[in-house]
């Protein structure tokens, strides 16, 4: 049976993704800062889907620990899915460097640090799939959350470059661009119902993208076109908008 590693396994999206892969008979490795709280999900995956599931301590911000984290994984996962992220408070980040730094470090630096390690392993093995959950917020900086958006923009560009490099090594990289998704992270936001997906939609998109070796996928097809429009607004107009 293949194995999938979920980095940042406590989010709603991560839970949905782990269930989706387990339902397709992947053994699951769940990684998060506190593994204790993941015990319930571990038993759930084992009982519901009859797969193996192991728990691993992982902190996206402890960059030094990432090499040893991947070294102790047994087996080396066939698919590594980087789900962790931090939305933060946009207004606070404007004046509070701690908050701004945490947003940038979690969404960008942590992702780069972790995926660089697994990229090395996969390129030596000449196989493997890496999935990065980025965000449509990274496609254009907007006043409402440009710290988060710029970190995700960096992450998207990183995944693109990584895909380019690893293609030649037989390793596939998927960039996932969710739009609005109903999760605990967005619980306090008013989201437009028609445009907002469920964590299960993200999970289905991720699974199908891995299966069909897609490069850049959007959760809910129309987001590709919405972002095309948003990207094509000239800057002199865009700066006047309140987005």
């Amino acid at each position: 049976m293949p194995t999938a590693l979920i980095l940042g396994a406590t989010s709603d999206m991560a839970i949905a993704i782990s269930r989706k892969f387990a339902s397709h008979k992947y053994n699951i490795q769940l990684a998060a800062r506190k593994t204790e709280s993941l015990q319930a999900l571990q038993s759930d995956l084992q009982i519901r889907y009859g797969v193996e599931c192991s728990l691993h301590e992982f902190d996206a911000l402890k960059y030094q620990s990432h090499a040893s984290f991947f070294a102790q994984l047994d087996p080396i996962p066939d698919v590594t899915i980087c789900v962790f992220g931090y939305l933060g408070e946009a207004n606070k980040a404007r004046t509070d460097w701690q908050e701004a730094a945490r947003i940038i470090q979690t969404n960008y630096v942590g992702g780069v640090s972790a995926l660089d390690r697994v990229a090395d392993i996969y390129s030596q093995k000449k196989q493997g799939t890496i999935v990065g959950i980025s965000s449509v917020a990274g496609e254009r900086g907007r006043q409402s959350n440009y710290h988060y958006g710029s970190a995700k923009a960096g992450f998207t560009a990183y995944l693109s470059g990584l895909r380019n490099r690893l293609y030649h090594e037989g390793v596939h990289v998927v960039t996932v661009q969710p739009g609005f998704v109903y999760t605990r992270m967005t619980e306090n936001l008013q989201l437009p119902k028609l445009l907002t997906g469920q964590p299960a939609d993200v999970a289905n998109t991720v699974y199908n993208a891995v299966l069909n070796k897609k490069n850049v996928v959007y959760v809910k097809w129309f987001w590709r076109w919405i972002m095309l429009i948003i990207r094509s607004i000239p800057e002199f107009m865009f700066k006047k908008l309140k987005m």
Binding site: S37, L41, D44, R184
Partner: protein, 444 residues
């Protein structure tokens, strides 16, 4: 996030700030930060029991913690729905000990409403099969309770509409099955006397319920179809089914796409429907083997069937009358038939003995029927309440959206004891719903 929510009856509808949690610490944080709130599962109670300004959804708290396939004991978090439980247990040869007419309810909701099923006269309520559970109280403390430990908390939580605390972890026992099929018998009854006689005649059947036509008058008054069932054994199955006796039914679902205009349901259309439903069984008796889905969950095949009652919603009225109050049943059915307020088929069942603190069932006849919300309905139901009380009956809180506090008081002899226990575990009314306020279970 603030949103408009309603339970299955679509009445009442209100704006609520809905919080969610997937982990224990997240729930504790919600309880600590918010003022008063009520836990909410899949919103399949009919009325206002799980409505409040702040609700905490248990749906993401849905993990299976252990499943002993030799003893049939399942341990899970409270937000898992029965349909998810069935998918796991049926292929291993186990079934829910008690199930209501929909599988789209959570385990926590099944306990908070203490649901009953077609086997009540044999197996009792859902709570009879709960071995132990954990309750997170309003003060942030988690207490374990069972029929023999913290008994008062256990009793007041079963059927207690979420007012003791948030049910978090549940351990309950399952029923052993050989196959996922039901050996079904349907018997047509020409009138109320006959169906009640048939209930008696077939009381050894594990599952029994009757669909009854409440609009017929004269000699056909109370004509019904009695539906009986037993879990099929492998020898009951034909050769093709024997290959995979514990097969899960295929998911076939259609969605009711929009709210029907209110005037579609009128005496004429309901009579026509009831006529067709009764006469679709051309024989007096039908015996067949069916999958558990159509037997237990006929309406689950139509997602959002509640839209059939229009945007104003409906009230499902369910009462129980003691066995000796057969005249009360006749009187109430006559009132409904005369009022012509239009209900689809009603469901009649005979409950077995039960004497719980606050759970709805007790020995007698229970009738459940739907009334679309329209002018004059509430006054009419108030009148029915008085007849129910006159004959020593009571109403089901999970279906209720409108009863007056005195009706609850008169129907539940141990209500004061229930209130005292709520007061002990929920002294600051941290857990409260618009129903508990209306029924004066939580003090202002």
């Amino acid at each position: 996030m603030k949103k408009q929510i309603a339970n299955w009856g679509n009445y009442p509808m209100m704006e609520s700030d809905e919080k969610s949690f997937a982990f224990d610490e997240q729930l504790k944080e919600v309880i600590r930060k918010e003022g008063s709130l009520i836990p909410r599962g899949n919103g399949r109670c009919y009325g206002d029991a799980s409505l409040a300004d702040v609700t905490v959804s248990t749906l993401k708290y849905d993990k299976i913690l252990s499943f002993n396939t030799s003893d049939g004991i399942l341990e899970c978090q409270s937000g898992i729905t029965l349909d998810q439980v069935l998918e796991v247990i049926v292929p291993k040869g186990w079934f829910l000990p008690v199930t209501p007419g929909t599988k789209f309810i959570t385990v926590g909701g099944a306990i908070a409403s203490d649901v009953h099923g077609k086997n009540h006269h044999v197996d009792g309520c859902f709570s009879h099969h709960v071995l132990e559970m954990d309750i997170l109280l309003g003060n942030g403390e988690t207490l374990r309770c069972s029929p023999s430990f913290n008994t008062d908390l256990f009793e007041a939580t079963c059927g207690g509409m979420g007012l003791t605390g948030v049910i978090t972890r549940v351990r309950f026992s399952l029923k052993k099955i050989e196959t996922s099929y039901i050996r079904q018998k349907q018997v047509k009854a020409e009138n109320l006397d006959e169906v009640l006689r048939l209930f008696e005649e077939y009381k050894h059947y594990t599952y029994s319920v009757a669909w009854i036509d409440c609009l017929k008058k004269g000699k056909d008054f109370g004509r019904s179809i009695l539906i009986l069932g037993e879990h099929a054994t492998v020898s009951d199955l034909d050769e093709s089914k024997k290959k995979d006796p514990l097969k899960l039914p295929k998911k076939k679902q259609i969605t009711f796409p929009f709210n029907l205009p209110w005037w579609i349901l009128n005496t004429f259309t309901v009579k026509a429907f009831n006529f067709l439903y009764y006469h679709k069984n051309t024989k007096k008796e039908i015996n067949n083997v069916v999958s558990y889905e159509p037997f237990f969950y006929p309406l689950d095949a139509i997602l959002h069937w509640n839209r059939g009652y229009g945007s104003k919603g409906f009230i499902q009225y369910q009462f129980v009358l003691p066995l000796e109050a057969r005249n009360g049943l006749v009187e109430i059915m006559k009132r409904i038939s005369d009022a012509g307020l239009g209900s689809f088929l009603a469901v009649l069942k005979v409950f077995g003995k039960q004497d719980s603190l606050i759970s709805f069932p007790k020995e007698g006849y229970t009738l459940a029927l739907d009334f679309p919300v329209r002018k004059g309905l509430m006054e009419f139901l108030d009148e029915l309440d008085q007849i129910v009380l006159k004959y020593g009956g009571r109403l089901y809180m999970s279906k209720d959206a409108r009863m007056k506090p005195g009706v609850l008081q008169a129907g539940y002899p141990r209500l004061q004891q229930f209130k005292n226990i709520i007061h002990k575990y929920n002294p600051d009314n941290k857990l409260r719903s618009i129903q508990s306020d209306r029924l004066l279970l939580t003090e202002n």
